[in-house]
């Protein structure tokens, strides 16, 4: 529920001192979110942050909104209860790769398929940080950690592809240290009516430092970020490379110089999910050139709307419930 009151970052900043490791990517995300919240025109008391367990879980304590720090993996379920019961609230979920994709994978996909009006920020650092360094469901194959001294053997999820597969209506990816891109994506997510899933590449400088260097690093990033912009041809690496349609019908990365401009894919966030899904699978992100930005944005009735609409229609049909009539309806007899 938007209003026109002037607010500042301070209105969304709680009195708690953030306690992440110095240099953690979470600080940058927190600062971006706190700074961006006033733009939405939603009062702090009408905003709820819900988090799970992991380093990201602490996020709720630093926002001066209503907050619920839940249990491991269940934040989307708690948030579904909040958003379904009270569609007047703006509900954000802050989660991590282990929280959202491992222990809480089921709740994530169901919140997305139901299109619950939630803004889900998934901090992906490809590691379990709070438990001090085990591989996560987004860690690359062969990851050497405390629990996998000989390297992990299981294939990781691509969070964007997973969200698309779960029929999410808004799916995006951004990077913790790119304040402008991060804020732009958050803005689009906030404006989306329905479930918005945002994967944020987040550097864990203690247990998985440099995992996203190819994309985060000032010198490498510009060459490897494939920035998706709706309605524009997908071109990156300072205009030298592009995503084009290959002869076999698949998408491939190629040099612009070698490509007929008609073959360059124009990004479309509203079309069928096949393009977004293919873009998500284009490369071995984040160790190869990787798409960031909004992959998909489509409109569908939100879960809360559908639930309350059904109640409204039942009341139109039968009138507001009458307890006396309920109790005495059907076969009764008097003594």
């Amino acid at each position: 529920m938007a209003d026109t009151l002037e607010r500042t970052k301070k209105d969304f900043t709680s009195d708690q001192e953030p306690r992440w490791c110095p240099g953690c990517g979470d600080y940058a995300i927190l600062a971006a979110v706190q700074s961006f919240m006033p733009e939405l025109g939603v009062a702090p008391e009408n905003t709820v942050f819900v988090s799970g367990i992991g380093c990201s879980g602490r996020f709720t304590y630093y926002m001066d909104t209503y907050g619920f720090h839940g249990i491991h993996g269940r934040a989307p379920a708690i948030a579904t209860g909040i958003a379904t019961a009270r569609p007047d609230l703006t509900v954000w979920v802050v989660t991590g790769d282990g929280d959202a994709l491992s222990i809480g994978g089921n709740h994530l996909i169901h919140a997305l398929r139901r299109n619950v009006n939630l803004k889900i920020l998934m901090f992906n650092n490809q590691i379990y940080g709070l438990t001090k360094g085990q591989y996560s469901p987004t860690s690359e194959v062969g990851k050497v950690t405390k629990s996998t001294p000989f390297g992990s053997v299981d294939r990781p999820f691509d969070p964007v592809a997973l969200a698309l597969g779960a029929a999410a209506t808004f799916v995006a990816r951004t990077i913790d240290n790119d304040r402008k891109h991060l804020t732009d994506v958050l803005r689009e997510a906030a404006e989306h009516p329905g479930a918005a899933f945002v994967e944020i590449y987040q550097n864990c400088n203690v247990f998985n430092d440099g995992a996203f260097d190819l994309l985060r690093d000032k010198s490498q990033g510009p060459h490897n970020q494939i920035r998706l912009v709706h309605g524009e041809p997908i071109v990156f690496d300072e205009g030298t490379r592009c995503v084009r349609l290959a002869a076999n019908g698949r998408l491939e990365i190629a040099a612009v110089a070698d490509t007929d401009p008609a073959q360059i894919i124009t990004h479309d966030v509203h079309g069928p999910p096949s393009l977004a899904f293919t873009l998500a699978q284009l490369s071995q992100g984040p160790t190869e050139p990787t798409c960031i930005g909004v992959f998909r944005e489509v409109q569908r009735t939100t879960y809360g709307e559908a639930v309350h609409d059904q109640i409204a229609r039942a009341r139109e049909r039968s009138g507001d419930g009458d307890l006396e009539a309920l109790l005495t309806g059907g076969d009764t007899w008097s003594v």
Binding site: E45, M63, G67, F68, I78, G81, I311, L327, D331, V335
Partner: protein, 611 residues
């Protein structure tokens, strides 16, 4: 030969057939007619876990038992006086439930070799002497039904399906039940399908007339109306009473009802019933799993709803971590556990009281929670109202224990006056200019319930230990101990608001106290009454709140030389009573997936008195 009319005080009738034979429906309609006649009654549906087990087999037998009487009825009856068996499998499965000398009404058409084989009979029980000592009536129900339905012009299959109505008509005649309620019900149900309606009416009338005109049945039985308190009555099963009680609690508190649940036998009926009442503003969510259901409810509780999740044993295990979160966040929430026979999947359609200790202790850490249990189907209504009252007043999750038997069983219920249900004030926190302390407590030990949307009361809660008063995260050693104490004291303190444990002890000097909880109340009452009739001095008390127990519970159990605790588990309440009050309570335990029988309690009482 003219028919004689025999007066009886009480009768137990059991309808049994294939799961597809419509026995539950038959029983249900017989119950309605019986209720309208003014008999007191209790019912017990007994169905297999399989939806459609192979037809004609013992696994597929579905039964419905009803006891009705001209005096008060406390149980569906240990044993049946009359068994209606629609096929050999039903006879095989349920003959052991029939009293010696009882009446068997068999569907003769179904007793063919093929069905006898499927039921596992080596010889026809009707002719090999195994039914000697019973009154056996063999009635060709299927073929008479088909003939009666013929003029309606439905197919043979539809005609045969109506045989349950023939059985209902026949038994209705035998017990002089009014026919109008059944005919009116058929009209309502099949009004839109005239042929099916006509077929069922024809079958029902054929059954009734068969009793009236054949000379097969020597007599019919009359059971007069039971004396009852003046008022308006209806027949109600536990599942419906639970659902309606939750709706009543929503109305009484002004809080919208939010019910999240995952399908599980036998708790699904609660989801089904509540989802029909959207015009009461009820939100029902069929969650992706048990854990999600609990968390959705807890999220809704945070926003100021009357939040409820329902489940059965396996689901209670899955919800345990979330219930712990509700304990530490101190939010009002109701968890309904419709107990079934465990462990694990156990016997999903069969009853048990095996979850008491799981409700008490089934979470990690010190995690106290109020627990209330209903003792009758209709009592579920008041039990959830009280659960809501306590949850909201004390800002705590509350576990409501029901069980499969209560959920499915039904009894006449004198309707409460909806307008006289006491209001429950949620007392939401309001800003008063001072710094808001989410863990400051009132005289009940309860913290404020500040819901999103309230300006100035923004605060953060969660599973981490909180600092007393401020609610900031705290790892302080003394604070953790203080918070642990405060949570325990708050739940223990609920006892001061509970009525004392009442003891039914007419002479006041009984030699034995029988202490129970939950759905065993009826059987215990019946057994205690019989013991008194034979000159024994036996008292009965039944716990409604299991945690905390009423303040006088210790005095009550210590007052009697002997205490016997019958339960459908291996002595869970007995364990609690022995540990809490240091008395040598005797446990009587049965775990056969069925209600306790009053006659097995007779022996247990006898033994306890002599022991």
């Amino acid at each position: 030969m003219s028919t004689t009319v025999e007066q009886r005080e009480r009768v137990v009738v059991r309808f049994a057939g294939d799961s597809g034979d419509g026995m539950q429906l038959t029983g249900d309609r017989f119950t309605s007619a019986t209720a309208l006649l003014g008999n007191d009654l209790a019912t017990l549906p007994d169905f297999p876990a399989e939806i459609r087990a192979p037809a004609g087999t013992v696994h597929g037998v579905s039964a419905f038992q009803i006891q009705f009487a001209s005096t008060d009825v406390t149980t569906p009856g240990d044993h049946a006086d009359v068994l209606v068996a629609m096929n050999p499998a039903a006879l095989k499965a349920d003959l052991p439930t029939v009293v010696r000398g009882g009446t068997l009404i068999l569907n003769e058409d179904a007793f063919q070799q093929r069905n006898l084989d499927k039921a596992g009979y080596e010889a026809d029980p009707r002719t090999d002497g195994s039914l000697d000592g019973y009154q056996v009536y063999s009635v060709p129900m299927t073929s008479i039904t088909v003939r009666a339905v013929e003029p309606v012009g439905v197919g043979k299959k539809e005609a045969e399906r109506a045989k349950n109505m023939f059985a209902l008509g026949l038994v209705s005649w035998m017990y002089d039940r009014p026919t109008a309620p059944t005919l009116e019900w058929l009209e309502r149900k099949f009004g839109g399908k005239p042929e099916i309606l006509d077929a069922n009416v024809a079958a029902f009338n054929a059954g009734y007339n068969f009793g009236e005109t054949t000379e097969l049945f020597a007599h019919r039985v009359e059971v007069k109306a039971a004396p009852a308190e003046p008022g308006t009555y209806r027949n109600i099963a536990g599942a419906q009473a639970l659902a309606w009680g939750l709706i009543a609690a929503s109305r009484a508190s002004g809080l919208p009802l939010f019910y999240a649940s995952y399908p599980i036998t036998p708790a699904s009926d609660l989801l089904h019933e509540l989802s029909r009442h959207k015009h009461f503003g009820v939100i029902t969510v069929q969650a992706e799993d048990e854990i999600a259901a609990a968390n959705m409810a807890l999220g809704a509780a945070f926003t100021g709803q009357l939040a409820v999740t329902g489940t059965s044993g396996p689901g209670l295990d899955l919800k345990a971590e979330t219930i712990g979160l509700a304990v530490i966040t101190e939010l009002p929430m109701i968890i309904v556990d419709v107990q079934r026979a465990g462990p694990s999947t156990g016997m999903p359609t069969k009853t048990e009281q095996g979850d008491l200790l799981a409700a008490m202790f089934g979470r990690h850490g010190e995690s106290p929670i109020p627990i209330i249990a209903s003792s009758t189907p209709s009592g579920c209504f008041d039990v959830v109202l009280d659960a809501a009252r306590v949850a909201i007043r004390y800002r705590t999750p509350v576990i409501v224990l029901s069980d499969s038997f209560l959920q499915n069983s039904s009894e006449p219920w004198r309707l409460p006056d909806a307008s006289s249900i006491e209001r429950i004030d949620p007392h939401f926190a309001q800003p008063n200019g001072a710094v808001f302390h989410p863990y400051a407590r009132n005289e009940d030990g309860a913290r404020p319930w500040a819901i999103p949307g309230t300006a100035g009361l923004q605060h953060r809660i969660g599973g981490l230990e909180r600092e007393d008063v401020t609610g900031a995260i705290s790892y302080d050693a003394d604070n953790h101990e203080r918070m642990t104490d405060l949570r325990r004291e708050k739940v223990a303190g609920i006892a001061t608001s509970l009525p004392p444990l009442e003891v039914d002890d007419p002479t006041g000097d009984a030699d034995l106290l029988v202490l129970g909880w939950g759905s065993t109340a009826g059987s215990i009452r019946a057994a205690v009454r019989r013991a008194r009739d034979s000159g024994e001095k036996v008292a009965h008390a039944h716990l409604r709140w299991l945690n905390p127990m009423p303040s006088n519970t210790g005095d009550v159990v210590r007052r009697y030389p002997r205490v016997l605790i019958p339960e459908i588990n291996e002595g869970q309440l007995a364990l609690l009573i022995r540990a809490r009050f240091l008395i040598d309570a005797l446990s009587f335990s049965r775990v056969q997936g069925r209600p306790l029988w009053a006659d097995e309690l007779d022996d247990a009482i006898e033994e306890a008195l002599r022991g």
